[in-house]
């Protein structure tokens, strides 16, 4: 095991996979950073420090710094993937999917199906998501709600450096298109990461972070920390929570959720995306259909309200899920009836 930051787990995994497989290429805006400036290539090395040093090591053929052209970035990733490469494209902010939605939704996601199973598009599209930096409505969003609903895409949301390592390696070696969502507020967090150069975590396998038996809490990414904190507080009163990290929202590990809810009979889904037609609503429908007889209370969700993300500190705090809101939801499912 090596202790490393979440962002370094991203960079080291890309670096290792590029060294292992010459078909892995990286592209995106400022993934080199400094091109065409006095500072020269690598003056920046990627705004998240997740591509630092790749250009110096692998050169311009495999590390392609692009203009601010999101449609061209994702489209080029599609063309590279259809032509035998394994592109890892970076969209910088997840919010920018709005610029290039056609290439994600109508192109990459649909090639294999439209073309009768005869094309292969092993593209990874990385993007940083999430609020907490007062970056307001266009640089803070959680976009898994939109992308998970697109058949043909796989959607990954790692919560720890170890999961970044295992899931990103799986993503790069996977033959289908994968959306890899990195939470901005997790980049500087640290954790132990396995040293095995082939350490991989399969998609569609959720992680049971803790078992408590009274209430099931399901979440992803940054919010898992809040769920754990709420579970700690409740444990002090003898209330036991199962906390489940989905890891991937597509494919979805239904079994781990249903197994837990069959014991607890109570579900709280905690999500950073808006409340309507999203992950939380989807999982509540899942247990309503498949674990109905086990339910002891209506499944609840803790999400932001149906609004854009506000700027001011007080407003953003009020908008986001919190430990208090999660604790309150757990108490409400326990108190029902």
């Amino acid at each position: 095991m090596t202790k490393m930051m979440y962002r370094d787990a991203v960079l080291s995994t890309i670096m290792e996979e590029m060294a292992r497989d010459p078909d892995v290429v990286v592209l995106g805006e400022d993934v080199v950073g400094g091109m065409g400036t006095a500072g020269g290539p690598e003056a920046i090395g990627g705004i998240w420090s997740t591509s630092t040093g790749l250009y110096d090591r692998f050169g311009p053929g495999r590390v392609i710094d692009t203009p601010i052209s999101e449609s061209a970035i994702v489209g080029a990733a599609a063309g590279l993937a259809l032509s035998g490469k394994r592109p890892v494209a970076e969209l910088m902010f997840a919010d920018f999917i709005g610029v290039c939605l056609d290439q994600l939704w109508n192109q990459i996601a649909k090639f294999r199906y439209m073309f009768g199973g005869k094309s292969r598009c092993p593209a990874v599209i990385r993007m940083a998501y999430g609020a907490g930096f007062n970056a307001a409505a266009q640089h803070s969003q959680s976009v898994h709600q939109i992308l998970t609903g697109m058949p043909g895409l796989k959607v990954v949301m790692p919560a720890t450096p170890a999961d970044v390592k295992g899931l990103l390696r799986t993503a790069i070696r996977d033959d289908d298109p994968v959306i890899f969502l990195e939470h901005k507020a997790l980049y500087a967090t640290s954790g132990d990461v396995p040293d095995d150069p082939d350490f991989m975590i399969p998609f569609g396998h959720a992680r049971l972070c803790r078992a408590g038996g009274d209430v099931t809490i399901v979440s992803t990414g940054l919010l898992l920390g809040m769920c754990e904190a709420a579970a700690d507080r409740l444990a002090a009163e003898g209330i036991g929570c199962d906390v489940i990290d989905l890891r991937t929202t597509s494919p979805l590990d239904e079994e781990t959720i249903l197994d837990s809810v069959e014991v607890t009979g109570r579900l709280v889904v905690v999500d950073e995306a808006p409340p309507r037609c999203g992950l939380a609503a989807d999982l509540r429908a899942l247990v309503a259909e498949k674990a109905f007889s086990s339910l002891k209370a209506p499944p609840l969700q803790v999400t932001p309200p149906h609004t854009p993300i506000p700027f001011a500190r007080e407003l953003e705090s009020a908008y986001l899920p919190s430990v208090d809101k999660i604790e309150d939801a757990v108490r409400r499912v326990l108190a029902w009836r």
């Binding site: 053929g61 489209g75 599609a78 063309g79 032509s83 035998g84 109508n106 073309f115 289908d176």
Partner: protein
């Protein structure tokens, strides 16, 4: 450069195959047997064939909603395509794509596309793959983005042209200017008093212009373009002035056409008629050579239609197949 007799016969056969494929669809669609939206390529055959005759299977193309001609010219199987358009599970894409979504990766045909302008960035990606692979004995493999005058107004096309120049990707933007963006004229929709090629030049690439209804003009121009791009000269653009014999889609009432316009372009700017006149006048082929090919092609199309009619239909279980490689 003078083409061999064999090359001339191949070119004519390819153009005639596209023509009769489309003319037959025009008839069959009216019976209601074929589902969905279909956009026919008739009139533009010299472009697809004049470009693709230069390409090998490692060269890749991306196409448009009007893609049958590009698919056939790049080597997609006539019967497989007909079956696909009929929606058969024996079709090239198992009946999942239909007219607008035909692809054949083994032939370097990365896909027709239902979204106008979506193909250009994908072609740049294919060109970047070629750039990463480096040149072979004949230079770099190339990627061709076929686009119409409609797609030349899409931001994706601008982004793609700029990215290709910035990265010096071996990508060729082939603009087929048939003077109509769906139902709107070029002179209205393209806000320049010049042409599409001048836009490409403004992005920093070399551009060519030629008559897209003259197979020999297309073929000779592409020889120059390909020498430039395969040799590492960076991306290039070509604008071919051409004609669309049918409407935007099958069923289009074409009320935007001028009086006698279709009769005129069919009489004066038919690439097949022009090809026949040129090669027979020059004594390169006899009328009887061409008549023999016409018969062959008609037989091929007839056989493809019969096969498509008889081909197995997909079943409800097929809906679930091929979303992912593994899930």
């Amino acid at each position: 450069m003078q083409l061999s007799r064999e090359a001339l016969l191949n070119a004519y056969r390819a153009m005639k195959t596209i023509r009769e494929f489309e003319e037959r669809l025009h008839v069959e669609i009216q019976t209601g047997e074929i589902a969905g939206f279909t956009h026919l390529y008739c009139g533009q055959e010299a472009v697809a064939v004049g470009v693709c005759e230069h390409l090998g299977t490692r060269d890749r193309i991306v196409s448009t909603h009007r893609g049958h001609g590009h698919c056939l010219a790049k080597g997609c199987d006539v019967e497989g395509m007909m079956k696909e358009i009929w929606g058969s599970r024996e079709g090239l894409c198992k009946g999942k794509g239909g007219s607008m979504h035909i692809a054949d990766a083994d032939k370097g045909m990365l896909g027709a596309n239902g979204i106008v302008g979506a193909g250009a960035p994908i072609a740049v990606g294919a060109a970047l793959a070629s750039r990463a692979n480096g040149p072979g004995p004949d230079g770099l493999d190339v990627a061709i983005a076929f686009s119409g005058d409609g797609a030349c107004n899409q931001g994706t096309t601008f982004e793609a042209m700029n990215l290709a120049v910035v990265t010096q990707a071996p990508c060729i933007f082939v603009f087929e200017n048939n003077h109509y963006s769906e139902h709107t004229g070029f002179s209205y929709a393209v806000g320049t008093d010049r042409d599409i090629a001048s836009r490409a030049e403004a992005f920093g690439m070399k551009a060519w212009r030629a008559d897209g209804t003259d197979f020999f003009a297309v073929h000779e121009t592409m020889r120059e373009v390909l020498a430039h791009v395969r040799g590492g000269g960076g991306p290039a653009a070509v604008e071919f002035d051409t004609e669309r014999f049918f409407g935007h889609f099958e069923g289009d009432p074409q009320r935007y056409r001028g009086p006698g316009e279709i009769d005129r372009i069919r009489a004066e700017r038919d690439c097949l008629t022009r090809f026949r006149a040129a090669v027979t006048a020059a004594g390169l082929l006899e009328h009887s050579d061409i008549d023999a090919l016409d018969t062959q092609v008609m037989d091929t199309i007839e056989a493809a239609v019969s096969a498509a009619r008889a081909a197995a239909r997909p079943t409800a279980e097929d809906v679930l197949a091929d979303v992912y490689i593994s899930y």
